[in-house]
């Protein structure tokens, strides 16, 4: 009897390309974290790795609390979130119109695409010295690092999203009497918007990955600065707690985007 039930549960979980109930997905997601923390704990508690290199998860959790109680970590978080969102906003307001134009007018795409591809493959950390020379050691260079890390990726993604709008939609627009501008506003943008929002979510994640790079140069605030300065004193639990903080913010932002996507584009559900 039990064997049959377990067998059914197991086959449901491993059903080929089948959706799972939302609750099951949440439980499995939480299980992934529990599994990761357990393996981490077992390794750390075994003593094979020294705690300066791998503290126990509980030590990281305690350090996480200490960051808030002994340092003004909440302010650092606000500063970092502000930097990431500001840089991301600047990327979006330039990348979306430019991406739309690139995919609509082939000549613009032909001029910009090779150049953007070239910049896109340059490692952002390698550009930091140059950006500091150009923008100084203040906020501008930090925003520039984050912007550089996201803008050149986002513009190509937006151009791709727009290119994928079915030609029949555009031709329908023409034969229904729409002008090019109306086709752009009333057909291309709504058609490309769901994948665009999805790509915004992904590039915002990339923006967070460049935060440490942006905040290690002459910074005196932000999560990256906290992590980098505590590294000097080998405060590994605090360093890891800082990393965990970025992970939590990233996860929450990602979930917020997913929720908004599901609400805004509910028509995509079958």
């Amino acid at each position: 009897m039990h064997a049959a039930i377990y067998g059914r549960v197991f086959s449901n979980l491993l059903a080929f390309r089948k959706a799972l109930p939302r609750r099951t997905e949440i439980i499995l997601g939480a299980l992934g974290f529990v599994l990761f923390l357990s393996v981490w704990h077992i390794f750390a508690a075994s003593g094979t790795i020294r705690p300066e290199f791998l503290p126990k998860p509980i030590s990281v959790a305690q350090a996480f609390v200490r960051l808030f109680t002994e340092r003004d970590f909440a302010t650092d978080i606000v500063i970092s979130v502000g930097r990431v969102w500001f840089a991301f906003f600047l990327s979006v307001i330039v990348a979306i119109p430019l991406g739309l134009i690139m995919s609509t007018y082939r000549s613009v795409g032909a001029v910009l695409e090779p150049f953007i591809d070239f910049i896109r493959y340059l490692p952002v950390p390698a550009l930091v010295p140059l950006l500091v020379i150009w923008f100084g050691v203040g906020e501008a260079s930090k925003i520039a690092v984050l912007w550089t890390g996201t803008f050149f990726q986002l513009i190509l993604l937006v151009a791709d999203d727009t290119k994928r709008v079915p030609v029949e939609y555009i031709e329908s627009g023409h034969t229904l009497g729409a002008t090019n501008g109306q086709i752009m506003r009333h057909i291309i943008i709504p058609a490309a918007l769901p994948s665009m929002v999805d790509n915004l979510r992904i590039t915002l994640g990339w923006c967070w990955t460049y935060l440490i790079v942006a905040e290690i140069v002459a910074a005196n605030s932000g999560i990256g600065h906290v992590i980098w300065s505590l590294r000097r004193f080998v405060k590994t639990p605090e360093v890891m707690a800082g990393i965990v903080a970025i992970g939590i913010i990233g996860l929450l932002t990602d979930q917020a985007f997913r929720y908004a996507h599901a609400r805004l584009f509910s028509y995509l559900r079958r």
């Binding site: 079915p166 031709e171 229904l176 729409a178």
Partner: protein, 266 residues
């Protein structure tokens, strides 16, 4: 016959990407279509019938020749020639009602109130009143094509261009939509060019069938279907079966010959 649409000496050649190989799709080709007529373009696959229809719709440019509508030279697409595609072209971000209403969006000849009335009229005509608030990816393929037809009609084109609109549908839905199109054609009297591979569909719906040769397209034969089987009989299912089958057989023989000729050439 009055020349509502005049297709004069149209030619079209496609070139390979490296620009070295040319494929002549349409040789100098002329024809005239009367107002209110439903003309079916029939021919072997790849013969150029869709290309010709897209040229009429302004979605492709001919190398030479001209298209005139009511004597006026046409260039580029506009609202006078509405197109229904084979693939589903209804907009997924709009409901059924808003998709149909989209057809009236760029009409400046009517008021907002009239746009609502026209939307209601066509929703009713294609039998989708119950599904007005549904998004189009929650309705069947046949319903989506009905949305596309209603949207195009709502834009009030002078000419309806239909590129194998029922090609992707199952047999029953296809038959249902064919009869629905016959009803629409009866009430709207819309000049229609309809591209199809389906001989029976062509005989059922057409006033006139134009059979094209294999590529490059030239007219092999024109059949005045109305002269052999009345539209009324076809609509009512009272057509002479022998006449229907004879016409079907003649057309198939012609198309098979063209197809075989095409195979020999390649």
């Amino acid at each position: 016959m009055d020349n509502f649409i005049e297709i004069s000496d149209i030619t079209k050649t496609y070139w390979s990407d490296d620009g070295k190989t040319e494929t002549k799709v349409i040789l100098p080709l002329s024809m005239a279509i009367a107002e209110g007529e439903m003309v079916m373009f029939l021919g072997p696959s790849g013969c150029g019938k869709t290309t010709l229809m897209r040229i009429v719709g302004g979605l492709e440019t001919q190398d030479q020749g001209s298209i005139r509508l009511r004597g006026e030279l046409l260039a580029g697409p506009d609202r006078r020639r509405g197109m229904v595609f084979q693939s589903y072209s209804s907009f997924p971000w709009l409901t059924v009602r808003n998709n149909i209403k989209f057809g009236t969006r760029y009409r400046t000849d009517i008021s907002r109130q009239e746009k609502e009335e026209i939307t209601d009229h066509y929703m009713n005509m294609v039998g989708l009143v119950r599904y007005g608030d549904f998004y189009t990816n929650r309705i069947s393929g046949g319903m989506r094509q009905r949305v596309a037809i209603a949207r195009t009609l709502a834009s009030s084109p002078d000419v309806l261009l239909m590129d194998e609109p029922f090609g992707a549908l199952d047999a029953q839905t296809r038959e249902h939509l064919q009869f629905q199109l016959m009803d629409i054609n009866k009430s709207e009297k819309k000049t229609t060019i309809f591209v199809t591979h389906d001989v029976e569909e062509a005989i059922l719906l057409a006033n006139r069938i134009i059979i094209f040769s294999s590529r490059p397209a030239r007219v092999v034969k024109e059949i005045d279907v109305d002269a052999v089987i009345s539209a009324e009989d076809r609509r009512n299912g009272t057509a002479d079966v022998a006449a229907f089958m004879t016409m079907r057989g003649d057309i198939l023989t012609l198309i098979r010959a063209e197809y075989a000729h095409n195979l020999e050439e390649t």
